[in-house]
């Protein structure tokens, strides 16, 4: 690449969402003990079972140690220096409708390209907006309610649907699951809750937009999606944060449950602040996402475009318990500058004839380190199970790295597991070919990278596919040199 001087001269527009909203917040002092958990639970007027669950998680967390098996390097996190709750201070009793939401918040989301006024929204997408520790607005609730779909902030579901929470919360990711999920279980503040009743096809895309604003706080949101028998839902998640010099922790948990014949499609465009070109600042994104195909013929599909965060540690997986159930994972992960990504999936085959597909596209640039880590596990009961994995890495520049750790455990001799992998660079020949057709170096790189990601982008809902492509272009600006 070095022989083309234009490549190193690509301009850098940088991170687009790095502004801070100046808003009064209620923020608890840094530090974590039982009283903080009781405070969070009390603020949310939670039932006793939930407080007890949090406290059990906290007890367990104190016995755990931060995991370091991933291909990631960072100084130890000081969990005592983080504030575990920050909420924009409500004016009066808190908003009952969009008209009562603080205009500064509406402005923030409009600036992020997520206008919360329903008339301004794309007609087909309902949004839950989570700002630091709380949900500030949810659109199209009435229209969804007509279809029987529940889409609300987690903290609201705690009050309105406690029985569903008690039944499903922690049933896919137990509070003992792993260090970060356990921490989340103890201190989670808000997130989205979705319930799609039997036989209902959700009439619109659901989406949650996560925004970290306050300094020195962690964001610990929790999302739970339940698709009852024969139902169908597509859910999108987007995230951004201000540019700050210190690192901030984001440790979310997402649980999906698909019952018989149900389908859940979960798409993420993750654009947390990645840190600057020298590697200062950025979000530490330690996330546990897991779906369970509990019923026969159920299907869960994860699509993720991971462009942000200083560190990404996430493995959205599927437990394929139901017979004939299907799990899918489509991922584009980029690591530019000093970003580190260790991401992949887990496909646990339990049900007979369960099938899974994994398509992972890793792009490394600058000093970025990109790791695919995936587990395909076939249990003895999963006769006729099939997995196909395709894992491609693209390197831009000489100082970045791509690493692949596929783990395959087969305990059923009748299963079929396929794994394909490749590592490539953008060649001089490809660049020159595109330039000879009138494309600038930058457009040529973007086009070639988009082509590399095509198998993943086409899994995204339309509204997100365009955004993802643009985001990738911005992320990789100045990447080649």
């Amino acid at each position: 690449m070095s022989s083309n001087p234009e490549l190193s001269a690509l301009f850098n527009r940088g991170y687009q969402h790095g502004f801070v909203t100046d808003i009064e917040s209620d923020t608890v002092p840094p530090g974590l003990d039982e009283s903080v958990i009781r405070l969070i639970s009390a603020k949310k007027r939670e039932p006793k079972f939930l407080l007890d669950w949090r406290l059990r998680a906290f007890e367990h967390w104190r016995t755990m140690r931060e995991p370091h098996w991933a291909h990631l390097h960072y100084p130890p996190l000081d969990y005592g220096a983080i504030s575990y709750y920050s909420a924009p201070r409500p004016k009066g009793d808190g908003p009952k409708s969009l008209a009562e939401v603080d205009p500064k918040l509406l402005e923030t989301y409009a600036k992020l390209g997520v206008p919360l006024h329903e008339r301004a929204r794309l007609a087909g997408v309902a949004v839950d907006a989570v700002f630091d520790s709380v949900s500030v607005a949810t659109t199209f609730k009435e229209r969804l309610a007509e279809a029987g779909v529940v889409f609300c902030p987690f903290s609201e579901a705690v009050i309105s649907h406690p029985q569903l929470l008690e039944e499903y919360l922690g049933s896919v990711v137990p509070y003992t699951d792993n260090f970060f999920a356990t921490l989340n279980s103890a201190v989670f503040t808000d997130g989205s809750f979705v319930y799609v009743p039997p036989g209902v096809r959700c009439p619109m895309e659901l989406s949650t937009y996560f925004r970290i604003n306050a300094a020195k706080t962690g964001q610990f949101e929790r999302t739970l999606i339940i698709a009852a028998a024969g139902s169908h839902v597509s859910y999108l998640e987007g995230c951004t944060a201000p540019m700050r010099d210190e690192n901030q922790l984001h440790a979310a948990v997402v649980e999906l449950i698909a019952l018989e014949d149900a389908q859940i499609k979960y798409s993420t465009v993750q654009n947390w602040y990645p840190g600057d070109a020298q590697g200062r600042g950025g979000i530490y994104n330690f996330v546990t996402k897991r779906g369970e195909c509990r019923g026969r013929n159920s299907r869960i599909s994860w699509t993720q475009v991971e462009t942000g965060s200083a560190i990404t540690w996430k493995y959205p997986g599927c437990v394929l318990r139901g017979e004939n159930s299907v799990g899918e994972f489509y991922s584009v992960a980029t690591a530019n500058n000093f970003q580190q990504a260790d991401t992949g999936t887990k496909m646990i085959h339990i049900g007979a004839n369960s099938r899974s597909t994994i398509v992972s596209k890793g792009i490394s640039a600058g000093h970025g380190q990109n790791t695919y880590r995936g587990l395909v596990k076939i249990m003895p009961s999963a006769r006729g199970a099939r997995n196909f994995t395709r894992c491609d890495s693209l390197l831009l520049g000489p100082q970045c790295g791509a690493h692949t750790f596929p783990y395959i455990e087969t305990r059923n001799p009748g299963a079929t597991v396929e794994h394909e992998a490749s590592t490539s660079r953008i060649s001089e020949d490809q660049l020159f070919y595109c330039q000879q057709r009138g494309l600038s170096t930058e457009d040529a790189v973007n086009m070639i990278v988009s082509g590399f990601c095509r198998d993943v982008f086409r899994e995204l809902p339309m509204e997100f596919a365009v955004e993802a492509q643009n985001l990738l272009a911005v992320t990789l600006e100045g990447a080649v040199g």
């Binding site: 022989s3 083309n4 234009e6 060649s427 001089e428 020949d429 490809q430 020159f432 070919y433 595109c434 330039q435 000879q436 057709r437 009138g438 494309l439 600038s440 170096t441 457009d443 086009m447 070639i448 988009s450 082509g451 590399f452 990601c453 095509r454 198998d455």
Partner: protein
């Protein structure tokens, strides 16, 4: 008479310290077709790549004017936008990028240069489909990745398709005829001829004169060891077919 569309004066170039072109001079007027012939390693492809601006070559002397501008001062994409097209001898594959996407991007790059708006999606499809018929290219190739899994002949026809869509002022075709069967050769020849116009010129680089049966050149040049050693009309190509290149090489060596 107006200035030539392409005016090469004493062009010398090297790659990795090895001199490859030694003072090539050539002028091509609008409306003309020139053929550049010569043995392997004579510098034919180097000349095409240097004109198109491929990185990796050092210009050690001479000038090139294209349509009045200093061609060598322009980056490759601006040469392309100004109307210089290179048909590649070995077209690269770009996985996942559809042929249609590249064609549209290329056409719009040309249109922007001419101050025209981007082409409407329907107009684009109509234009491309028509040009694909000229090149006997199946519609399915539009949605396939650029040259991805194309046969050798499909790749070459695809190059000419791109040329027909971009409508360049000057087309440099680097061994577009190599590896083509006789039917494909006719199609390619027909495609090139369909571009011929008083304001355009074509430079065909080839080993063999058989393409010249279909694309009849106004002038034929022989490039050997980085120099043009002989220029003539159509009959020179036929003579080369009869006698090979050795007699010219000997003459060139004797003259050097």
């Amino acid at each position: 008479m107006s200035a030539p569309l392409l005016q090469i004066d004493s062009l010398s170039a090297s790659a990795g310290g090895t001199p490859l072109l030694h003072g090539v001079s050539l002028s091509v007027n609008a409306g003309e077709v020139h053929a550049i012939m010569g043995p392997n390693g004579s510098g034919k492809s180097t000349l095409a790549h240097v004109l198109a601006g491929r990185p990796g070559y050092l210009i050690t002397g001479g000038t090139v004017r294209f349509d009045g501008a200093d061609l060598l001062a322009l980056p490759p994409e601006e040469r392309a936008r100004a109307g210089l097209f290179l048909g590649f001898q070995y077209p690269v594959e770009i996985p996942g990028v559809s042929n249609a996407y590249l064609l549209k991007a290329a056409l719009n790059a040309r249109r922007r240069q001419r101050g025209e708006p981007e082409i409407d999606a329907f107009d684009f499809l109509n234009l491309v489909r028509e040009r694909m018929r000229t090149m006997h290219i199946d519609d399915a190739l539009l949605t396939r990745g650029v040259n991805e899994g194309f046969s050798g002949g499909e790749k070459k026809r695809n190059e000419i398709l791109q040329m027909l869509v971009m409508e360049p002022r000057l087309a440099l075709l680097d061994e577009t005829d190599s590896g083509l069967d006789i039917d494909a050769l006719k199609i390619v020849g027909h495609g090139i001829n369909s571009l011929r116009a008083p304001e355009r010129a074509v430079v065909v680089i080839t080993h063999y004169q058989r393409l010249l049966d279909y694309v009849v050149p106004d002038q034929v040049h022989v490039l050997a060891r980085g120099r043009i050693v002989r220029s003539g009309n159509r009959s020179l190509a036929l003579e080369l077919e009869q006698r090979g290149y050795d007699w010219l090489l000997e003459a060139a060596t004797a003259g050097a």
